[in-house]
Symmetry: C2
Subunit: 344 residues, 2 copies
């Protein structure tokens, strides 16, 4: 678990469980604590003038302002403080940014997609709060700050997650403007599916059950975990943005394929970096070699084939964007490129 | 914590925290385990022909069948098993029944309201699963069965609650038929508000913070806890049923008042029964006298005034129903009467 992997993981704050942390609950994972540095070389090749870093910075500012308004500091203050503590703890806001970008790509506005963008970050935050709990990953730090339950206690942390999850759906229904109600309902279904037992929760459960001595994980299972723990919410972000922006079936299908590819590619690249960096740093970061015992793409199909798979996925994702205005598609191209660049 | 209170509490499975259980986490609370017996004398005075027990039994059968379909036993099985274990563990299905009754009262059908009725039970179940967790009330039994985390472990129990909460909103959006989409969105907002930091979670937080030595709880705080922990979801059940059935503003307002009154009355009567029964059984059930230390309506305003408040609330609730067809309003009359009858 090394610096480059830590950066990459934090960018999307990947939800793969850290075996070493589970075996030694008191251990602080640098992967969870490391600050994100978006590298300057990550720019769209097709649009050299597009400044991905600047774009993401501006979007994060917009999204943070909207998130700040979404949870008012009202009675009973402690629960709203707890929700805000984790929701406003920073991060690159990749899921909201994807949602806004997809909405704009198909002709919609930022305003139409912003409530759903906030909702996606609420869900992501909920999953982190609950995943950090002592009975789950038992993490003490997240993004360099004490985890929610370390500050507010387990009871409040569980309830803060519940309140954020509930608010996420209420917020889409209550705050979305200038979108046909049936489309808003479609978005709620899309987001709900990405969270529940067919989404994020399903992926976490399979991951939990795949841990421990004597469990053999095949490529199918590994792909299931990745697709559900990481890719499902990314897919919901892109597809809901498209729906809110008025996309037809063809566009929704196309962008769904794009999002599935980048979601899976992200985890394949993450696996590659994990293995590479672990090898490089072996013996330097004590205890981290335990992570190698985890089934990964390289451990199943080898490093080279893993790189080929990642390349195929990225190319596949980008091929879904060729029919769009390159200026509007630039953020989505850049995100795919960003994932590829992480190989280096 | 005695037989009559146990029955009454289980009827709505009240969510007030049990101080004695918190002080002695290993103690099994009969209140949580007791089976419900709906007494035959609980019948609407205005409609003597209406058989409340039979009605509730038939509704529970319908609702249970719908709930059974709502969570299919698919991969990954363990999470769906865990969700189903608690969701299908029995209970009188009061919230779904209220939702269906309110929908029919204003001219709607059972079919229109059933997805939301199921959603309300999913939310109620989620709140019980999370409330029973070791870091919360640490209960080993619920409705006579081991609690979710005792069977599936804490990780799965937390995730099962999350998945049920997520599904509850998705289910309304996905499964509701023959209702205008904007009405379905209104229902989602109504339900969301009842769960989050302005609803159930808010009430639980204030309850948690009101426990422990040196904390003085006033009538305002007690009312806040009751209104949010118990009454909010009952209100959402009635109001969402009305919205789904096509109610106008006047009907929605009227039924909102009805639901607020019965929700608060339920807890006032619960407090009365708690005090009365504790006195009667004092010394018989070891350790239960600790519950007396909890702030209740009788401890704040006395037993007689508490009874008057309960009577006023029940009369107020019933006065909201006088403009409706007595046959259609019979279930809602009967529920109010049921709460009054619990005094005896």
């Amino acid at each position: 678990m090394q610096a480059s992997a830590a950066r990459s993981s934090s960018m999307l704050v990947t939800k793969r469980r850290c075996s070493s942390a589970r075996r030694n609950p008191q251990q602080v994972r640098p992967r969870c604590v490391a600050e994100v540095t978006v590298r300057s070389e990550v720019k769209s090749k097709s649009k050299p003038s597009f400044d991905f870093n600047q774009y993401m910075k501006e979007r994060a500012t917009l999204i943070d302002a909207a998130l700040d308004k979404s949870v008012p500091l009202q009675y009973p203050e402690v629960i709203n403080e707890s929700m805000r503590y984790s929701l406003l703890a920073g991060g690159k806001r990749v899921r909201p940014a994807l949602c806004l970008a997809a909405c704009e790509l198909v002709g919609g506005t930022i305003e139409q997609a912003m409530p759903t963008a906030c909702s996606l970050e609420m869900i992501h935050t909920m999953s982190l709060i609950h995943d950090d709990l002592p009975s789950m990953d038992n993490d003490d730090f997240r993004r360099g700050k004490p985890t929610n339950h370390k500050v507010y206690g387990e009871e409040i942390a569980i309830l803060a997650g519940d309140a954020l999850l509930s608010l996420s759906f209420e917020y889409i229904a209550r705050e979305t403007r200038d979108v046909a109600p049936e489309r808003v309902l479609q978005v709620i279904v899309e987001v709900g599916k990405a969270v529940g037992s067919e989404g994020l929760v399903g992926g976490q459960v399979v991951d939990i059950k795949s841990e421990g001595a004597g469990v053999t994980v095949g490529l199918d299972t590994l792909q299931y975990i990745h697709e559900h723990k990481t890719a499902a919410l990314l897919e919901a972000a892109v597809v809901s943005g498209a729906l809110l922006g008025g996309a037809g079936e063809v566009d929704v299908d196309r962008l769904r394929k794009y999002s599935r590819s980048i979601g899976l590619a992200f985890q394949v690249v993450d696996d590659i970096l994990d293995i590479t960096a672990t090898t490089e740093e072996l013996g330097k970061t004590a205890g981290k070699d335990l992570a190698v015992a985890k089934t990964t793409y390289p451990s199943l199909v080898g490093l080279e084939r893993s790189r080929e798979i990642a390349d195929e996925l990225i190319e596949g994702a980008k091929s879904m964007l060729t029919t769009y205005d390159p200026a509007k598609a630039a953020p989505l191209y850049a995100l795919a490129e960003y994932i590829r660049a992480r190989k280096n």
